[in-house]
Symmetry: C2
Subunit: 193 residues, 2 copies
DNA sequence: CTCGTTTTATAATGTTCATTCTATAATGAC
DNA sequence: GTCATTATAGAATGAACATTATAAAACGAG
């Protein structure tokens, strides 16, 4: 009926993710997007609306692929190991991230959420998803005795969420193994004694 | 010998701080700066060089005024109280920050440090200053018995630094009293048992 | 083959950006 | 008062920005 697309939407989104992840929304120009996706501006606008809409799609895909899948991977483990594995992945990512991209969700939370109500809601929801994952782990772990009872699950979950944010920030400035590992091991120790 | 300045440098820097703090480096246009400082672009460039140089001066002043003075204030207290007072101030600031500006140092660490070697060094040094403050408190507190020995001072200091970063990020997205207070009280509990 | 529809390529749009030019104004030294 | 020097005001500069207009191209339906 009509001319077919010459590109794969997910592939283009992945390229857009890489730009936005590394440089953020404002510092990613449409020119940079056309260069790295290979699409013309016309195709980009025709397919995604505008830059903001494209960013939204990219962020949603980022969270599904990079955050959601990590949570699913870890959720299959026993609760205490799940939290450990989660932070082990974060640590590994942060220490091998040569472009210092950090976490696109954290970056967006700081760049757009404060001034943009829509992105504030979106990022808040995504952060709550991580918090809920921690919460589940702690509830289960405290129930079966693999995680200590000294603190409430809610307090622990919020605390670990903030440690996660902190590690993601620090990793973009000082991606030092000793520093980040120290922070995480300190956080995990909270679960054991 | 020459025409005198019509403005006070510190006053102008404070106005610049407010812009950069709220919107970051990239999203603060020179027009916005001339509007809020009251200076013409010519005066701004004559006095400070360029936008980047002005930002650097603003950041340095921000850290002196807002971070340095807080550290000095708290340093006068006994070690355990010093840490408590520090986080009490952070919490209070975060919960009354209606513009969701967060912390200009954290914002810069995420916006500029990853791609700019000079700002990476600057922000890293400033973060280390906070870390050293924690470290001093822990060393003294462990020596006089007001802070528990269960963890190394270095590990604790790094951990609290990351909690601080995390709170500053979360506060820009979800400035909720219960959430932030929960995180901080959890962190402070680490010092007592 | 022709028509309707969507995608592409290219060029153009008008705006905003950081920065600088030109000219005028204000001072102290002489 | 004149001069050298620095600060201002306002306009101008050219580059980069996001977005769109125009027209050609590629397909299925009829």
């Amino acid at each position: 009926m009509a001319r077919p697309r010459e590109f794969d939407e997910s592939t283009v989104l992945d390229a857009a993710i890489h730009c936005f992840w590394r440089y953020g929304f404002t510092s990613t120009s449409v020119t940079r997007l056309t260069d790295t996706t290979g699409l013309t501006a016309a195709s980009l606008y025709n397919a995604f609306g505008d830059k903001r809409e494209l960013f939204k799609r990219a962020l949603e895909r980022y969270v599904e692929v990079h955050v959601g899948e990590r949570i699913e991977r870890c959720r299959r483990l026993p609760p205490r190991e799940a939290v450990g594995a989660f932070f082990a992945e974060i640590l590994n990512r942060s220490l091998t991230d040569r472009e210092r991209k950090g976490c696109m969700l954290v970056n967006t939370a700081l760049e757009l959420a404060p001034h943009d109500a829509e992105f504030r809601e979106i990022t808040a929801g995504m952060l709550q998803r991580i918090e809920r994952f921690f919460l589940e782990c702690f509830r289960k772990g405290q129930a079966d005795g693999t995680i200590v009872h000294s603190s409430s699950p809610d307090g622990l979950a919020a605390h670990l969420l903030s440690v996660l944010m902190g590690v993601r920030v620090l990793a973009r400035v000082r991606p030092e193994k000793a520093l980040l590992e120290g922070i995480v091991s300190q956080a995990l120790a909270l679960l054991d004694r």
